[in-house]
Structure formats: C-alpha cells, structure tokens
C-alpha cells in the first residue's frame, strides 16, 4: 500500500472498529479501501493483525486507543 500512502509505513488514526479504521485510512489515502476490501469484507488474500491476533470479527473487530493494526498477505497451507 506504500504507493497509496506516499511511502509512509505507519500512521496513527482514531477508530472504534477495523472497518472504521479502513474508512479513515481511505479518506486520507484514497484507494486503500479497494486494496483491502471487496464487497464490504476484508479481501480473502489479506489478513488484518490486531494487537498480534488475527481479526476474527473481520471489519467489526474492535479497535482501542493503543491498538496496533497490521495488514499482511494471507498464508494458507498444504
């Protein structure tokens, strides 16, 4: 997503859920939502890590003041 954020690796934002956070990100860096989401859900090939845990509630995952969120490619397995 670095091409959308002008090379910025991390940003601080305010949001209460993962979905809101992506909305705020998209306002600041247009195109982020399309990169991460498809049809109102996180894309299948993206994993959101919220404070070291996979966001099991998807875009409804709660976010608190000091939450760290990272977006990684999905790893399946064999």
């Amino acid at each position: 997503m670095r091409d959308l954020t002008g090379g910025q690796l991390s940003v601080e934002l305010e949001a209460q859920t993962l979905g809101q956070l992506i909305d705020v990100l998209d306002d600041r860096y247009p195109g982020v939502r399309d990169r991460l989401c498809n049809k109102g859900q996180l894309r299948k090939d993206i994993v959101a890590i919220v404070d070291d845990k996979e966001a099991e509630l998807g875009l409804m995952q709660p976010i608190s003041e000091s939450t760290e969120v990272r977006f990684l490619p999905f790893m399946g397995g064999g």
């Binding site: 997503m1 670095r2 091409d3 959308l4 090939d45 996979e54 490619p73 399946g76 397995g77 064999g78």
Partner: protein, 743 residues
C-alpha cells in the same frame, strides 16, 4: 498451563490403522451405489489452443451413454467476475484450452469402457496456438497471452497492459541498499526449481448422487468437506443446504486435495443422467491436470559483516501460476528471511502464467522454494565470513519480538533452541572425512495456522464418549484430537470414539491444511469437553445435593468441597444421565486468532558417486520445535515423511514438458518419488517449546518439517562437490556436469 498430563505425550495406537492395514477402510473409489454410472473426462491433447467447435452427437448416440456435458452446461458467468470464470473454465474449458489435460467434455455411461469409447467419439476443432512453457518467455512484452483480459496487478495497481504476469507483491523493511553498504561480504545468486507433484498415491475420485428434489450427496477424497461443499455451490449456483459432502478416507493429499478438480463435473453428469455417477482420475490425469507446486526463478542477495551479523537481504521471486491466476506468490514473501532478525530488506514476488496445469498447494506452499534459495545463500555467506554455519545462524536467529521484512512479528518461538540442539547433536559433532562426501544443514520456518473448527462430544451411558469433528484425518488427527478431549474428561483415550463428520452432521470446519488440525480442532475438542464437564457438574450437584458452585471435577471425579466422601466418577455419572435430565452433548466451535509458528533445522550427510552422479543419503537428522508433542510417534512420523518427500524433490522430482507443452513423465514410472531403497533411517529430535496459544502448548508440526530438506541436501551436495548446483532437482546429469565429467 497444564504441565502434568495423563494422556498428552503418550503413544496409543491409531484407531484407523487396522482397517487400513486389512484393506477394510473405505476410500473414495470404493463407493458403490445401486445404479452407479461411470464418468470419463475428455481432455485436451494441446497445451494452448482455441476451441472452434465441439460435436458430441456421436457420443450421445452410443448405447450405454447416459449424459454428455460441456462448458455450455455450466451456469452463465457474469462478465465482471473473472475469478469465477477462471474457476469454471478449469472444470470445463470454454473458448480456449490452456494446458495439456485441460477438461473439455465429460461422459457418464454404464461402464468405464463405454465412457472411454464415448469420449473418443466427441469431435473437436481446434486452432492450435503457441504454448508458453517458460516463465522468462511468458514475461516478454511480445509473448502470446494466455488470457487477453489479464493485466499486471503490480503492487495492487492495474498497469493497463495485457500480459502473462498476473501479480506483483512487494515488502520493504528499513533501507536495503544502506544495509548492503554496511556489509563486508555479499552473496548474490539465482536459483530455479521445477513444478513438483505432491506424490500422493490415491487419485482424485468422487461419486455423486443427485436426487430429483435437487439435493445431492457427494462422496469424495478431500482435505475439507466444507470447502468441497462451498466450491460446488459457487461453481454450480446451488444452495449450500442442498449439498451434503461425505469425506472418505484419504490416501495422501499434502495440499493437493484442498482444491477440487472433478466434483462439479460429476454433479452435472449425475443431474443429467438421473443416476449416481463416479469419476476416478487415472494417475496420468492426476499428474497432468491437478495442482502441483509452482516452478520458480529466485534471485537472492544477502550481506553480512565479518562478525556474522546479516545487514541486508533482498529477493526477487517468480512463481509459475500455470494456466490461471492464483498461486503462492502472494504469500511467499512472508516466508523468506523470516527465520532471521534482519534490519533491512526487500522482497518482490511475481506470479507468471504459463501453459501448464494451474498450480496448487504442496506442504508449506512456497516456503520450500524460497528456503531452498535463501539457505544456500546463508551457507555461502557463513563460509565467506569463516563461520560455522550453525553459529552464523545463531547470531542472526529470530526471537520473540523480531519483525520480519514482510511485517510478521514473532511471538514465543523455539528457533534458537532448535539451532542449539543441532549444534549439540552427535550427528553434527561427528566427523565426515572421506572423499566425495559432504554435510549440509538448513533452517526453516512455517507460521502454522488456526481458523475455524467444530467438535461435538456425546456422553454414552457406560462412560465412553463419541467425538465428531469436521476435520478430515490425514495423519492420525482423529487420535490426537481424541487425546486432548480425553485429557480434559479425565478418561482413557480408548473411551473416546473419534470420527470425522460430514457437512450435515457437524459445524463448519476449515480444511485439514496449514498444520492447523491438531491445534485448532484440538481446541474445539477441549472446548466441547469442558462443555460436557460443565453440564455434568450440574447433574452431579443435583445427585450430591449441593450447589453446583461446590462441585469440582478433577482426574475423572466430580467431588464437593464440603465432603470428601461424596463423589461420582465420570462413568458413574454418565450412567445416571437419563435419570437427571437426559443426554448430554458438549460442543466446541472455535476460530483461534493466534497460534504458534514452527522452526526446524536438518542435518544431512551425502556421498556423490563421481562415475554415475548418484547422490546417496548417508545420514539424516531432523530437529524441530514441535510445541508439546501430543503423540510423539505421530510427530516423528510427520518429520520423517517430510524428509522423504524432500529427498525426492531435491534429487529427482519434477514435471517435465516438451516445447509443445506435452508432459514427458506423466506416469508413476517416469515420475520418480523416493522409496525405502533411497532413504536412510531418519533420526529425529523433538524440541518442546510450548505454544502460548494452546492450553497444552500444541503447535502444528507437519509443514515446518518439510521446509529444510531440499536446502539441506543442496548444501550437503555443494559440500561434497566443492561446487554448487543452483537448480532442482539435482539429477545425476546435473551432478556430472558440475563435476565436469560430461558437457
């Protein structure tokens, strides 16, 4: 965390082995139903061609033929849904065939012989196109395109130009160039690997009974009944509730049976024939038209200071996708360099379309290839700074809190403990002196997986329980899951009848893959067992006439805090359930969001015959952080099996094609896998660093074991030859060429 176990860590006999050894286990080809028809698929003899016309009339007229289908019998695909079109096209080709073996039509008939005769009567006019078999050719601007509508999605953006590169993913950490400027030594190498098949012996086989009411039942060999159900639903626009999938015993999978290849075709044949239909693929069809692991081109560069500290690492990774987009290219950048704490780095991964079968998953998908390349560069770098290869790795090994180039932050891991165990192992300390012998080591990581699992436990009146999960048993997981339930219930594992449910009998459960089953479905079983205990505690309170808050369950007994003599055993209480409110069913539905990664390091001694180029494996040791080993013998089996597969990949295996895209070794004689005559006894050492995300400390074990072998053997062969071979497989021909014995 529980530290004293009664069941976990023991070695009971697998409940499924007697049936398998005696030939009684039911595999997919064994399914027989009254009125069963036999299906056969017509496949393309060309790797790249346009389909101009299909005439099925002669096949339809053949006596004994009940149904003939082509892509016209699939639902209409919306123009904007390319992903669905690719999926449907892979079951029955539409406008083009894109690899040798691509399905075009299918027949159901009263015997397999009639079906075989019928497909020969189907007439197809082709416009033969130039096949693209090589990634370097495929990536050229003027190369023929497999799909006119595919444009490179580079870093998430569509570049607007048609091409055969369908994906570019990039990760950057720190300043890679600055890191290389700080290095005293730099190694920069290019590696290639070929497509490799998973080598399972049981071919794909499915039987479908389509009922006139629109409900259908599927018996199939798969790693996940629910994924078969959802794929049939997606491909054929059928409601999930109408599809029941019954998984049979599995004769090997290793990732290939995560995806389906024939089920929607069999569903359509059964629907149109109004009879049950079975298709069993031949071994040739399996090799030509299922999903092998991608071939690769990988350029890896790493730099280190003389003190051994790696300062920077970069990789450019190209993965064959085969005929359709979708491969391990997206995820593999998360795997390379993740074993080490490296401050600067960049990984670029590309997915390239070629006229070969669409790739699939193979045990630690993508990880084997990237580790094969990285660990050879690590070895060369260790030599350049004059360090022991294990000491070099110990200087750079990842720890809890280390962040990888792709952004993975390690949790509690046993990486350092594994390397220290290698350094102290008698094998590593033993001398190896004779000419043409070499020793290699390699280190590997696999993140493992969690995700959705379900389990139910029913309590029987004699104190035994029946346990049902949705996890297909590939490796003895019926037992390892039962052992976890038994540990919680305080009963013997013999008292747990563990079985695999179908999509109508158990809640959604993800496929058995990603080394998740003993971990995640084990958690579901633990939750279900605790639910049983909670419900039985209420019954015990009723019988003992105390509040439920005073009931404690420990070591198989329900006791009260007020009276030492008032207690009920699990089996005693089980016998009284029908007097205290009726049956009890415990349930567990989990979706663990954290799990423990696995690390493995292997040691191999090899001897190269300078006259024939044959590589003999003299001694092999696999050391791995397995978390808490639920069943140590099964864990060792996973480690040893992984090494056997790795030896085959390192030395012989590969799918080879001629320039026209015809596979040259599509049979089990010419596609050589390792057998007992090729392998030594494989020593194992289990390092148990408990995962913090499981009450017993369980980690996945099957895939971490498969990551190091190819690199380990490559490093050993390089040590023996004094020269390195940069491609897999390391065939005798390549060995002799490297030794300058042949040109």
């Amino acid at each position: 965390m529980t530290t004293e176990f009664k069941v976990i860590g023991t070695k009971p006999i697998r409940p499924d082995v007697i049936d398998k050894v005696m030939g009684r286990a039911i595999f997919a080809p064994d399914i027989m139903i009254s009125g069963l028809l036999h299906g056969k698929i017509l496949r393309s003899p060309y790797a790249h061609a346009r389909i101009l016309s299909i005439d099925t009339s002669a096949a339809e007229a053949l006596p004994g033929v009940y149904a003939v289908i082509t892509s016209k019998d699939l639902p209409q695909t919306p123009a904007d849904n390319a992903e669905l079109k690719y999926s449907r096209d892979n079951f029955l080709a539409g406008e083009k065939v894109l690899y040798e073996g691509h399905p075009i039509a299918a027949v159901a008939a009263d015997s397999i012989h009639t079906a075989e005769d019928a497909i020969k009567l189907i007439r197809i006019n082709y416009e033969i196109l130039t096949p693209i078999m090589d990634m370097r050719e495929a990536m050229k601007e003027n190369s023929p395109k497999l799909h006119e509508n595919i444009r490179l999605k580079s870093l998430g953006q569509d570049n607007g130009r048609p091409g055969n590169i369908s994906l570019h993913v990039q990760h950057i950490l720190g300043d890679p160039e600055k890191g290389f400027a700080e290095a005293d030594e730099i190694v920069d190498r290019e590696f290639t690997t070929t497509m490799v098949h998973q080598g399972y012996l049981e071919a794909q086989s499915s039987t479908v009974l389509w009922n006139p009411d629109g409900n259908l039942t599927v018996w199939t060999t798969t790693q996940g009944a629910f994924s078969v159900q959802s794929e049939i639903s997606r491909i054929l626009d059928i409601s999930l509730s109408k599809i029941r999938v019954i998984p049979t015993e599995v004769g090997g999978a290793f990732g290939s049976k995560l995806r389906i290849y024939i089920e929607p075709v069999v569903v359509l044949l059964s629907k149109f024939a109004n009879r049950p239909v079975k298709i069993t693929m031949t071994q040739s069809e399996v090799l030509k038209a299922t999903g092998p692991t991608p071939g690769t081109i990988m350029r890896v560069k790493m730099g280190a200071k003389r003190n051994g500290k790696i300062t920077s690492a970069t990789a450019e990774l190209y993965f064959e996708a085969g005929a359709f987009p979708g491969s391990t290219a997206g995820g593999s950048p998360r795997l390379i360099f993740t074993e080490y704490d490296i401050p600067n780095g960049q990984v670029d991964a590309f997915e390239v379309l070629v006229n070969k079968t669409h790739v699939g998953a193979y045990r630690a998908p993508g990880d084997v290839q990237v580790t094969y390349s990285m660990e050879q560069v690590v070895d060369e770098l260790a030599q350049k700074v004059n360090m022991d290869p294990i000491d070099f790795r110990l200087i750079n090994v990842a720890h809890e809190g280390s962040i990888s180039i792709s952004g993975t932050i390690h949790k509690k891991i046993g990486a350092q403990q594994v390397l220290e165990a290698v350094k102290n192992h008698p094998h590593y300390k033993s001398p190896l002196k004779e000419a043409n012998m070499g020793r290699g080591v390699a280190f590997g990581y696999w993140p493992n997986n969690g995700r959705d699992s379900s389990c139910i436990i029913n309590v029987n009146s004699d104190g035994s329980v029946t346990l049902v999960t949705g996890s297909v048993d590939l490796s003895g997981t019926r037992l390892t899951i039962a052992m976890q339930a038994a540990e919680v219930l305080g009963i013997s594992v013999d008292q747990v009848k563990s079985s695999v449910g179908d999509t109508s009998s158990i809640g959604y459960t993800g496929s058995s893959g990603g080394s998740r089953t003993t971990f995640a479905t084990g958690l579901a079983a633990i939750q279900a067992a605790k639910d049983v205990i909670n419900q039985m505690s209420i019954r015990a309170a009723s019988l003992l006439n105390v509040p439920v808050s005073e009931i404690t369950f420990e070591r198989g007994f329900f006791t009260t805090s007020t009276s030492s003599s008032a207690k009920l055993s699990f089996s005693e209480l089980a016998g009284k359930l029908n007097q205290t409110g009726g049956p009890i069913t415990g349930k567990g539905n989990v979706s663990p969001s954290s799990w423990g990664a696995g690390f493995a390091c292997h040691i191999a001694d090899v001897e190269v015959d300078p006259e024939t180029g044959k590589v003999s494996i003299l001694r092999y040791t696999a050391i791995q952080d397995v978390g808490k080993a639920v069943h140590p013998t099964l864990v060792e089996g996973q480690m040893q099996g992984a090494v056997v597969q790795g030896i085959g990949w390192a030395l012989w295996e590969g799918l080879f094609y001629d320039t026209q895209g015809r596979m040259l070794n599509s049979n089990r004689l010419d596609y050589k896998i390792a057998t007992f005559v090729d392998i030594p006894h494989i020593e194992t050492e289990l390092i148990e660093v408990p995962s913090p995300f499981h009450p017993f400390g369980v980690r996945g074990v099957a895939e971490p074991a498969f990551v190091p072998p190819t690199a380990t053997i490559a490093n050993a062969v390089a040590d023996a030859l004094g020269k390195r071979i940069y491609s897999l497989p390391m065939t005798p021909e390549k060995i002799l060429r490297t030794m300058d014995v042949i040109d």
